[in-house]
Amino acid sequence: MLRRRVIPCLDVADGRVVKGTRFVDLVDEGDPPELAERYAAEGADELVFLDITAAPERRGTLLDIVERTARRAFIPLTVGGGVRSVVEMRDVLRAGADKVSLNTAAVADPTLIERCAARFGRQAVVVAIDAHGAEDGTWEVVVKGGREATGLDAVAWAERAVGLGAGELLVTSIDRDGTGAGFDTGLLRAITSRVHVPVIASGGAAGPDDFVAAVRDGGADAVLAASIFHRRIHAIAEVKAAMAAAGIPVRLVPEAVA
């Protein structure tokens, strides 16, 4: 049976892992390949790197980190942040990433999803959707790290992205991100009930129960978190044990060190 995945996310800026609250107030939290290897040993099912500065002149730094990570951690790696073209996606895949996540650039030009899927296959194309809850109970897509509203309905955008070739969706609640208030299971359910590609839940994890809720109530295939793992508030094994106890199929790594 397909396992539900637990995915540590490494927000990378200028070659270091950082984490802020609501994408600001960044704090340095370590060397990406080193953290990646540690997570792989601790039972991470996959890794996500989000390059949150992604200034074009620093692109080489990211590619170097991707390659060093791919050579140390023998688990899948998704890289996102600032990828704007088929050529940039190719470079990231060549450096050793398995999947690339597209966000702001895909909203600006949805044909990017189609072109990347045609070239690399839809399994390599993750579309990241940052969503903000509106007062009427719907969710709006925001871009540029949550700083800019788009007027797009998040559920409608999710369906369109899948139609264009997204093989997976990474859904982040900007309202919950970095707050520890739990995942927005309403947002997740609204999307997972409408698409048949895997959905990764992101934004708001505080403890193991939140991971259980993202899968059970939100219908997520995978659950992503950053701070609680980087700061060793909870171990991956502890999160997976809670998921397994709730009847969710997970990959247990017996030799994992907590």
């Binding site: 049976m1 023998f74 398995d98």
Partner: protein, 200 residues
């Protein structure tokens, strides 16, 4: 073998880690001193076959695989061994009878993540790996051997329906999952492959 179908860094590193001497081959010359060919890759069959054709590798790789020389196909590299693909209608190598078809009854597609690989029979490729161990998959299609070719089935996996996740026929081996991305068990499988090649 590099034919433009995806990430070579991880397979290169994984094979090197388990003691193989890896050469990235892009043409016939690159295969000259090879003891075994590993064909990785993700994506669709048609562009992959076109790249093999351009590199002049379609015939040599088919002959190698059909000639029972050590071969490991990974993901698309396994799918190409069949006769054709339903994904884009491509005609593929035809070394194993059957076609590549969409996963039937799958609750989510692509099938992405760790899933159990259940062996149909014992094989040295899985030495030291627990029964039903999890490996990493990322695909929507899988090879379906014809009735005459079912003896090549080495393992199966469930995602809605049951599909073939590994094949073995003599020295010809193929896996639908990604051992280079499947942690410790994945490295063990590649080490077993290297041992099989050395014993051949």
């Amino acid at each position: 073998m590099d034919y433009g179908a995806g990430n070579l860094v991880s397979i290169d590193q994984a094979l090197t880690t388990v003691g193989a001497d890896v050469v990235i081959a892009r043409d016939l010359d690159g295969l000259r001193d090879a003891d075994a060919i590993v064909v990785p890759g993700v994506g669709a069959a048609e562009p992959a076959m076109a790249s093999l054709d351009v590199a002049g590798l379609t015939g040599p790789v088919r002959d190698w695989a059909a000639g029972d020389r050590p071969f490991l196909g990974i993901c698309l590299g396994l799918q190409l061994l069949f006769e054709g693909s339903d994904e884009d209608g491509a005609r593929t190598l035809g070394v194993v009878r059957g076609r590549t078809a969409l996963l039937e009854g799958a609750p989510t597609l692509p099938h992405i993540g760790w899933n159990q690989v259940v062996r149909a029979r014992p094989h040295a490729l899985f030495d030291g790996i627990g029964e039903g161990a999890d490996f990493y998959f990322v695909h929507s299609y899988a090879g379906v051997p014809t009735t005459a070719a079912t003896n090549a089935i080495l393992a199966t996996t469930e995602h809605g329906g049951t599909f073939v996740s590994a094949v073995a026929r003599g020295s010809l081996l193929g896996v639908q999952f990604h051992p280079e991305r499947s942690g410790r068990d994945g490295l063990r499988l590649l080490a077993n492959f290297v041992d099989l090649v050395r014993a051949a």
